[in-house]
């Protein structure tokens, strides 16, 4: 229940590339075969462990449809990590990456960790974008890269966890200002030196207060 750190993520990319499926696979270990178009933004969360530390991931899955772009932009600024997703079976989703990246870089804080994801790796027979192309794009723009399948769950955990590792490293290098919550990072209750809002939650059952017999 309590965590050492809390990271905020966003998932971005063209419509239909599998953003919601990736989130669902990560939080619920399920796959959703029909395209349930995301309207605006949906929220999901999960706890992970990195180097023995509990880390809470709060993830905002955004809508890929052009019409929601302005809403999506409101989420860049407060995020510590972003998964930028394309679909390896649709080249145009790969071609749009630069637009997404420009948008993200423009609206986010400069330390935001971006993980490039080529999704639907299970559809090898319909592949239109080579793995090497993804790797090259990532190298060129300083991103981390992975191919995933939200359907078979291949690399899904890794994608979310490696992004967290990256952020965690940046924190330890002192790159992130963890006291500025606008960076999308929070320190857990038991780690923060002063936490004014905790009189009830800390001690188990020690907070009955007045009134009881």
């Amino acid at each position: 229940m309590s965590y050492a750190y809390l990271f905020k993520y966003i998932i971005i990319g063209d419509t239909g590339v599998g953003k919601s499926c990736l989130l669902l696979q990560f939080t619920d270990k399920r796959f959703q075969p029909v395209h349930d178009l995301t309207i605006g933004v949906e929220f999901g969360a999960r706890m992970i462990t990195i180097e023995g530390k509990q880390i809470k991931l709060q993830i905002w899955d955004t809508a890929g449809q052009e019409a929601f772009r302005s809403i999506t932009r409101s989420y860049y600024r407060g995020a510590a990590g972003a998964l930028l997703v394309y679909d390896i079976t649709r080249r145009e989703t790969f071609n749009h990456l630069t637009t997404w990246l420009d948008d993200a870089r423009q609206h986010s804080n400069s330390n935001m960790v971006i993980m490039l994801i080529g999704n639907k790796s299970d559809l090898e027979s319909r592949r239109e974008v080579k793995k090497e192309e993804g790797e090259a794009f990532a190298r060129e723009h300083g991103l981390v890269f992975m191919e995933t399948s939200a359907k078979t769950a291949a690399n899904v955990e890794e994608a979310f966890i490696n992004t967290a590792k990256e952020i965690f490293e940046k924190i330890q290098e002192g790159v992130f200002d963890i006291n500025n919550e606008a960076n999308g990072i929070k320190i857990g209750p038991q780690h923060s030196p002063t936490n004014p809002s905790l009189p009830g939650a800390g001690g188990q059952g020690g907070s009955q207060g007045g009134g009881c017999c």
């Binding site: 933004v41 709060q58 004014p196 809002s197 009830g200 939650a201 907070s207 009955q208 009134g211």
Partner: protein
């Protein structure tokens, strides 16, 4: 982007303005309240921008519920952000904000002296609304469950329950009733939370009877538990139980208590026929020395006596729930003196005061239930008699009109839409109908109308049991027996069928197994055969075989030789045969020659003899000679 900027403003300006001009903060929050009211996307962005942290910070700095209107504003924004926004509720729960609600319920030690300021009451109401929004029955079930669990683990359930149990501390009545509703929703459908609550609840003195609203939240097990507490026990007094608490509420002097108690008790019966029959076993002593009467009897007597509309409606709703689908309850009810007469009078009345049309409608409804769920065990009020009563005394038109009053009433349409009982202090007298009753009514109204129609047709066709002659009646009874018998046999046969079905299943399973084994054996067989044939080839190819074959070959050769010899011999024999043949022929020829020569000689000698005068007897064998000699 506008929203984010606004959030910045709220965030940054807080420090600056805290001391000088709270008015800015007020203005901002007013703006935010408006903004967050209806747009789900704005609500989500605001939440993403750490709004809950900001709001809780402000609330804490302002002194929680003891704070001023700023606290109320913050809570209102929170409420807006959460209302009907599953994503944000999920975020609120996942973000550990539920923990931050608990301190809101700590009452100051000196609350008795300072009392509840109107602002404190408002703040408190808002916090309760925030909690109710998180666990509102309209939310997805997994969200409700997750929030409920968190509320228990974060000691929020405990904190809120403590307000209920705050004996001796004055708590305004409307706060108290809203707190009850809140607790009810915190434990609704959640066994663990209910268990927690069941253990807490043991006030020495029955506090406010309205506490029974909490039964709204109970499931089947709790339903049984409540009824259980009312049943006669062998042991002596067991102290105060939930059920007794309910009963004391049911027959108290306070209309509202009666209404709530009746509704609560009716909730223990929802779709639970077993409980309806169990509850029939409950008897209560109304006065010392007076024979105890059944709870149902007492209810049926009570609504005839009381003049309080709210109380009457409550009891009638309880009776509706109880009588529906429960013929034994109908039987008890029909035996209560005056009950039917009262219902008939109410239903046939053609004038009423304010809201009394509801009362009359409910009376009509209960009459209808008595027809539908009647097992004809009460002679005077069997199905036929009752429908005659409705037709002749009340009149079908009037009856249907009265029945229809219920669903036409605005109180009905309101209650039918609201599973949550929402009460404010000043409006408690408006509590008349209740959600579960409306549900029941909706289902059964048509059933009643149909049943009455059927009965009417039956009597028009002179087909009722009453109109039959004694003989016919006997016949009818006979037929009924036959049918019952057949029914029993049918169920027997069905059971057998089921049994056989199982057996068949078993057998076909076995068959399948056997087939499987068979297949395996066949496979093994094939395999063995294959092995055998490869084995044979291998054996043939072994070097020992030529030795074995030698004698056969020899024989064969010998045979061949023999056959050749045989052929030679056959040839030889054939040659010899032809030689023999030709020799035989020569012999024959020679023989003939000799014979001919001899005959010639013989003839010569004959002739000589004749010449010599010798008589020669004709020898038959020498014919030609004799002929010749005759001439």
């Amino acid at each position: 982007m506008g929203v984010s900027k606004l959030m910045d403003l709220l965030l940054e300006s807080r420090e600056v303005i805290r001391n000088d001009a709270k008015i800015y903060l007020l203005l901002e929050s007013l703006l935010l309240i408006q903004l967050t009211k209806s747009n789900a996307n704005i609500q989500k962005i605001v939440a993403f921008e750490n709004a809950f942290d900001r709001l809780f910070d402000v609330i804490a700095q302002e002194g929680y519920t003891d704070g001023g209107i700023v606290v109320e504003d913050c809570l209102l924004i929170m409420l807006n952000l959460l209302k009907n926004n599953t994503s944000n509720i999920n975020f609120f729960n996942e973000g550990s904000y539920i923990q931050k609600l608990a301190p809101m319920f700590i009452l100051p030690k000196n609350i008795e002296d300072i009392g509840w300021s109107p602002q404190k009451v408002s703040n408190f109401h808002c916090v309760l609304q925030v909690i109710r929004t998180l666990v509102a029955p309209s939310n997805p079930i997994q969200i409700i469950t997750a929030c409920q669990k968190m509320m228990r683990n974060a000691n929020l359930l405990e904190a809120v329950t403590n307000i209920l149990m705050a004996l001796g501390v004055p708590v305004p009545a409307d706060i108290l009733s809203e707190t009850m509703n809140t607790v009810a929703e915190m434990i609704r459908g959640n066994l663990t939370n209910q268990e927690y609550f069941a253990n807490v609840m043991a006030p020495s003195d029955p506090p406010q009877p309205a506490i029974v609203v909490l039964l709204n939240s109970m499931n089947e097990i709790s339903q049984a538990q409540v009824v259980q507490t009312l049943l006669p026990t062998s042991g002596g007094s067991m102290g105060l139980t939930t059920g007794q608490l309910l009963c004391s509420g049911l027959f108290s002097s306070d209309s509202l208590s009666i209404w709530f108690s009746a509704v609560a008790l009716s909730h223990t019966l929802i779709e639970n026929p077993a409980q309806k029959e169990q509850l029939l076993r409950v008897f209560i002593a109304t006065n010392v020395g007076v024979q105890p009467v059944s709870l149902l009897h007492q209810c049926a007597t009570y609504f005839q006596q009381t003049s309080k509309l709210q109380a009457k409606l409550g009891i009638l709703m309880l009776l509706s729930m109880w009588l529906s689908y429960c013929p034994p309850a109908v039987q008890v009810f029909l035996n209560v003196p005056g009950a039917m007469a009262f219902l008939t009078a109410q239903t046939s009345a053609n004038e009423y005061d304010n809201n009394e049309e509801l009362l009359q409608g409910l009376c009509a409804f209960i009459m209808g239930l008595c027809v539908v769920f009647n097992d004809n065990t009460v002679q005077n009020y069997n199905k036929e008699n009752l429908s005659q009563l409705i037709e002749k005394r009340v009149g079908v038109e009037t009856y249907l009109g009265k029945l229809g009053e219920i669903s036409r009433h605005e109180v009905y349409s309101k209650a039918a839409k609201q599973p949550q009982v929402r009460v404010k202090h000043e409006t408690t007298s408006k509590l008349l109908l209740e959600y579960e009753f409306c549900k029941l009514f909706k289902v059964l109204e048509n059933v009643i109308i149909n049943a009455l129609g059927v009965q009417r047709e039956l009597s028009n066709g002179n087909m009722t049991e009453l109109s039959l002659s004694e003989h016919e009646n006997a016949l009818l009874l006979q037929y009924k027996d036959v049918i019952r018998d057949q029914d029993r046999r049918l169920s027997d046969i069905q059971r057998q069928l089921e049994l056989m079905g199982h057996e068949k299943q078993h057998l076909s399973n076995q068959l399948e197994e056997l087939q499987q084994t068979n297949l395996q054996l066949q496979d093994q067989n094939t395999l063995l055969k294959a092995q055998l044939s490869t084995g044979a080839t291998i054996v043939n190819n072994l070097p020992t075989t030529p030795n074995k074959n030698e004698p056969i070959e020899q024989e064969y050769n010998e045979q061949n030789d023999l056959a050749d010899k045989l052929k030679c011999l056959e040839m030889e024999s054939r040659e010899k045969q032809s030689e023999i043949d030709s020799l035989k022929k020569e012999q024959d020829d020679l023989l003939e020659l000799l014979l001919t020569e001899q005959e010639l000689k013989l003839n010569t000698f004959k002739n000589r003899l004749i010449e010599l005068g010798e008589t020669i007897e004709d020898d038959p064998e020498s014919d030609n000679i004799s002929i010749g000699s005759d001439n």
